[in-house]
């Protein structure tokens, strides 16, 4: 049978979402000859459609369906209905991501053991080790074309990187380079090379940056085994009398409801929508939502410790020219509790245009201090700080009183920083400002976290069914033919940008699903 598939065809694997996890899984399964229907809530935008213009691009790509927020995080005050800055389109947030592709460190897979008990933190070791992931990291890096791996040359450093590097050298940091990036430094695998456009977040018009939108998805479709249904907004997952998943109910663009029957369902809607969907799928048999016998669905939401430091200099920098994330300092990503916190953080260059800078530099601020900062725009350098945050059971996704356009409860995202997150952020701000002060910054701006781009951990992986939602292959502990295939399966967040690990887990999961199907276990 080849695509398109009948809605009553119960031999297909249904994948919900087409981003780093869902898009990769869809292609991997299709390449193995498995029939896949991928349901994508958004539409399809390709490089020719992307816009070099921040707000119009945001309107084109961002998930702006209603969400609510609570908790003490500043995002709940400044952007109460925009907890996350992620994409609703074929390719998901791989359209928007910056491309940083770092492997987890060995100790980050077993932080409960490494860090010990930390009050208020719901720490757990991953049920897998770095060694389990290494062969799959190899495949993922090759697939994405990650620079500084597999003999792929690094990208050239832009002005923003050069400022960071000069400061890092003065501070004695040892590991500062132009990063391991899923952005082609040379044409590779049908993708062009980077022309330093400076609009990585708006979708790469060169197609130099890896996105599942124009790699995994069309590659999978070319096999005849993958059908992608766009504007198919999944509302509920259905099960049969035996408690096995039987189909997935979605609304099309006109709001008409359909059910796609399936043999297996894989949820990859990101760490906000995936748990929301499991909770919205509650039934008589599963009154607390699907896959939720542990009560952990939606809990332990992580968004990485983040923050930014921008700095003004006497002379021009033009940080916006070239790759958005143009370089990294990794020296602080180790676990060194003598700094006053456990875990570590990465320092990565970042640039946003004046339209976004006005919204994010210091939301709510006004007056001459603010406008003076804006006037330094062309003399500014910037970096993003991204570190491991503590999973806390109280942080998470619950169903809100508010309903969406399909009359389904929307996600409420609750977040409070853990004291460890705050200590790490303060350290990161100090170090980030020191990097720029070392090369003559005249002003530094410790900038608060943006709406979350790294959304992790709300369907976490655990050895024991009572500790989490899925097993070491992302398979539900409760329902054998239900999988989680996105960053929500992360047990803990590590300090690295998550996309490479999401892709790695998806490749590994595809092997497992194929094996289980072949052996008729599923």
């Amino acid at each position: 049978m080849s695509a398109p598939f009948d809605k009553n065809d119960d031999s297909v694997v249904v994948i919900i979402g087409t981003g780093a996890g869902g898009g990769t899984l869809a292609n991997e399964l299709a390449q193995k000859g498995i029939s896949v229907v991928a349901l994508e809530a958004g539409g399809r935008h390709l490089p020719q459609d992307y816009l070099n213009d921040e707000w119009p691009s945001f309107s084109q790509l961002a998930w702006t369906d209603m969400r609510t927020t609570s908790g003490s995080w500043r995002v709940a005050t400044d952007f109460p209905n925009l907890p996350a800055w992620i994409v609703k389109a074929v390719g998901g947030s791989t359209v928007h991501w910056a491309g940083a592709s770092l492997r987890f460190q060995e100790h980050e897979m077993r932080v409960k053991t490494e860090y010990g008990d930390i009050e208020g933190a719901n720490l757990l070791d991953w049920p897998i080790t770095l060694a389990d992931l290494e062969p799959y990291y190899d495949k993922a890096e090759d697939k994405l074309g990650v620079t500084r791996t597999h003999g792929i040359e690094g990208l050239p450093g832009n002005n923003n990187f050069k400022v960071m590097k000069a400061g890092a050298d003065k501070l004695g940091y040892k590991d500062c380079h132009t990063g391991r990036m899923a952005i082609n430094s040379k044409p590779r695998n049908g993708r062009a090379s980077c022309q330093q456009l400076g609009f990585c977040f708006q979708g790469c018009k060169m197609g130099a940056k890896w996105s599942s939108a124009y790699t995994e998805i069309p590659y999978g479709e070319a096999t005849g085994n993958l059908e992608v249904r766009e504007h198919a907004h999944v509302l509920q997952i259905e099960h049969d009398d035996n408690g096995m998943i039987s189909g997935v109910m979605y609304a099309d663009q006109e709001g008409n409801r359909h059910v796609q029957k399936c043999r297996i369902a894989c949820v990859a809607g990101n760490s906000i929508e995936s748990p929301r969907l499991l909770l919205n799928s509650a039934s008589t048999m599963f009154p607390d939502g699907l896959a939720n016998s542990s009560g952990q669905v939606g809990k332990n939401y992580m968004r990485h410790m983040t923050g930014s430091v921008y700095a003004a200099f006497e002379n021009p920098v033009h940080m916006y020219r070239g790759t958005t994330m143009a370089g990294i300092i990794t020296d602080e990503s180790k676990n060194d509790p003598s700094r006053g916190f456990v875990g570590g953080y990465e320092m990565e260059t970042l640039s946003i245009g004046p339209a976004f800078m006005a919204a994010f530099l210091n939301p709510g601020a006004w007056g001459r201090e603010f406008s003076s900062a804006m006037e330094s725009y062309s003399r500014m350098a910037g970096m993003w700080l991204v570190g491991e945050d503590m999973p806390q059971e109280k942080n998470g996704i619950t169903l809100s009183e508010e309903k969406d356009q399909f009359d389904m409860p929307v996600a409420n995202v609750h977040f409070d920083d853990h004291p460890n997150d705050i200590a790490m952020r303060n350290h990161a701000y100090q170090q980030g400002m020191a990097v720029y002060d070392a090369v003559g910054a005249t002003q530094t701006y410790p900038t608060p976290p943006y709406p979350s781009t790294h959304n992790l951990g709300t369907n976490r992986m655990s050895e024991k069914p009572e500790d989490g939602v899925v097993n070491k292959f992302g398979q539900s502990h409760d329902i054998a033919n239900l999988f989680v295939s996105d960053g929500s399966q992360f047990t803990t967040g590590a300090s690295e940008n998550p996309t490479l690990t999401i892709v790695t887990l998806a490749i590994r999961q595809a092997d497992y699903i194929a094996e289980q199907m072949n052996s008729k276990a599923l």
Partner: protein
């Protein structure tokens, strides 16, 4: 009103730019002038720069109120190298909305009346006639939680800073794909490090 509530409704179309403002000759301007305050000229249904560089038609608000909004916008995000035209373009949408929404018109006009009252309490004739920026910002601080202030400031984040003319003033070059990116146009040209 949440400060950045603009970001969930996201009408995010670019606000009127100063290219869309009225073009008047100085003669036309003077012939229509009924009042003058500060650097702005007020007509019965428009306000304009005193040098006739630009003018904006006012549909629903009092011309004085539009002039006050423009001054407020400058005081909230003061850039001394920005013409009033950029601020006028940034707040013009409030007049458009007031023309369609009576409640919103009341919010703006009442808010401006309160602003003028606060200026009078501080010994000035009104907000526009308050000479020093620091005196005007003190008045704004005292009304920071008001609907007027929140509406104007929130709208300016996109209304002011999403104008290509503003980007150019701030030294940002905008879209780059159409120019071949920066690979051969200075992505690594920093020379002072």
């Amino acid at each position: 009103m949440p400060t950045e509530s603009i970001l969930h409704a996201i009408p995010l179309e670019r606000p009127g730019t100063n290219r869309e403002l009225m073009k008047l000759t100085r003669r036309q301007l003077l012939s229509r002038t009924v009042a003058v305050t500060g650097s702005l000229v007020l007509g019965s249904s428009f306000i304009a720069a005193s040098n006739a560089a630009w003018a904006v038609e006012v549909k629903a608000l009092k011309p004085e109120s539009m002039a006050t909004l423009i001054q407020m916008a400058r005081d909230i995000y003061p850039h001394d190298n920005f013409s009033d035209a950029l601020y006028a373009a940034a707040v013009k949408g409030h007049d458009d909305k007031a023309a369609e929404d009576a409640e919103f018109k009341t919010l703006i006009e009442d808010g401006i009346a309160a602003l003028d009252k606060a200026a009078q309490d501080a010994g000035h004739a009104n907000y526009l006639a308050t000479g020093w920026e620091s005196d005007r910002t003190a008045i704004l601080r005292s009304l920071e939680s008001s609907d007027l202030f929140q509406t104007v400031r929130g709208g300016l984040v996109v209304g002011l800073y999403n104008q290509p003319e503003v980007w150019a003033k701030l030294g940002y070059e905008g879209s780059s794909f159409d120019k071949g990116g920066y690979l051969y146009r200075g992505f690594d040209d920093i020379s002072w490090l």
